[in-house]
Subunit: 283 residues, 2 copies
């Protein structure tokens, strides 16, 4: 697929769609031939409803098995069709939810400013990662979004070790190699917390993430949390810029995109242009 | 299957097993020919591990699609085998979890007093039922244990209406007809609560439940909560003793057994005998 233009083509209107999904039985967000993907299911359902080809641009292009509780995308429709058909967005939302399985739920569809770009205008993405450590049993109904780790993890050690990673760095060591894009990112939050049920929740926020970056960060921090490496090791990995071992990358099932933040409407265009200048590749 | 004896046969030891399950893809607890059931899966996994035929007696015989976060069962094994094999119960638990899918998790297996009967010794069973009312979207990862209802429900109206049902009554109106057993039960708790996420949790506790009783109670209370019937209607239904319409019974997906309470060891036998005298049919 070609790189989308930043603004809608002339005569087109831009729409924002907010939604959530259980990624368990999908081959990720991005449409692929002969694969069941979230993008594929949503575009196929939207096209007959709007009687137009639909190309969704998403804020966080999640991998196979990754979930989202608050995902954002946009799409464009001809203004003339919109006027002629008097599209009722609440009605389209309702019908879309009837067509999709319960694995994907559409929260709302709304008219967006033409400078809104779900991917390039975003200021930050927030994920949570859930871990049942120390060989704790996974409650059957929580197995879809929690990963297991057999060793007990030291929350304080992990929280200390990840501090040097906060702020702007080249995260190449935690990014799956790709042809394009910078691996410089700004990490706003990386925090491990022991919940009341004994499981661990990890909160991770950055301006954007490169491919498999959250799962690589969590997996590397766990190496410290289980005592396999000392705390300074994480910063050494960051500075070394050579990709960590694939076996350290944590499984996708524990990962959920929970929030995408955008600037105020008058900042949308400037933000998108700045993002493209940096040639971000976000996950 | 024949009604089990209250105590283990001579030369047999009794074991208690605590476990949980996601009932979504099972035809309920009770073993049935050519059906995937929780009892069937657990007995098939336990038999090779203990090299003995296993017959599980459970506290709450849940229907197809009903879940359990804290279920209890018992089984008997020859004392001679136990001594000869020096069964390590923690090891059997571990191996059992490896053999079963993540849909069933074994919390523990322990040696039980010979008077312990998972079903007949129980003092009470507690269930929760989760409802997303008013047409609220079900978060995809919560769809397995939450039921949807399109109309908004009035929590206060339901809590007032169900008060006359507390205590000992003949719950025939809320029990699926069966050949055997009394329909007299003691309802200890029946409470609707609006959670922080906007969904409803219903807590229901009784000495025991007859078949489909929780789902019938919840469905009938919802008729009041949505304003279809006035509050006194629930008590009239109870007093009328004629079975409510099948369409009122709420779906099994929202129901989870969360707790079973037993008396102290010296009361186990007395409790079991009293239960059998009342010919309880519990769900």
């Amino acid at each position: 697929m070609n790189e989308p233009t930043l603004n809608p083509e002339s005569g087109f209107l831009r729409f924002r769609i907010d939604f959530s999904y259980d990624g368990t039985n999908f081959s990720g967000w991005a449409k692929q031939r002969d694969q069941r993907t979230i993008q594929g299911e949503m575009e196929s359902a939207l096209e007959p409803l709007t009687r137009n080809p639909i190309s969704l641009q998403v804020a966080g292009r999640t991998d196979a098995g990754v979930h989202a509780s608050n995902q954002v995308a946009h799409f464009d429709l001809p203004e003339r069709d919109h006027q002629a058909n008097e599209w009722d967005l609440a009605d389209i939302t309702y019908r879309l939810n009837r067509m999709l399985t319960e694995e994907i739920r559409i929260h709302s569809i709304s008219k967006a400013p033409s400078h809104f770009h779900a991917r390039f205008s975003a200021l930050s993405r927030s994920y949570i990662y859930k871990i049942a450590d120390g060989g704790k049993l996974l409650p059957p109904l929580e197995r879809y979004d929690t990963a297991s780790w057999y060793r007990p993890l030291d929350i304080d050690a992990m929280n200390s070790a990840v501090k040097p990673l906060l702020g702007g760095h080249d995260f190449a060591a935690f990014c799956k190699a790709r042809d394009t894009g910078t691996t410089i990112r700004t990490l706003h939050e990386f925090k491990f917390r022991r919940e009341g049920n004994g499981f661990i929740t990890v909160n991770v926020t950055a301006d954007a993430f490169c491919h498999s970056m959250v799962r690589s960060l969590v997996g590397a921090a766990v190496c410290v949390g289980e005592g396999r490496f000392p705390q300074p090791w994480l910063k050494e990995v960051l500075d070394g810029k050579s990709r960590i071992g694939e076996s350290m990358v944590f499984p996708s099932r524990g990962l959920t995109l929970i929030k995408v933040i955008y600037p105020s409407d008058d900042q949308l265009e400037e933000r998108a242009k700045a993002t493209i200048r940096r040639r971000d590749e976000d996950e």
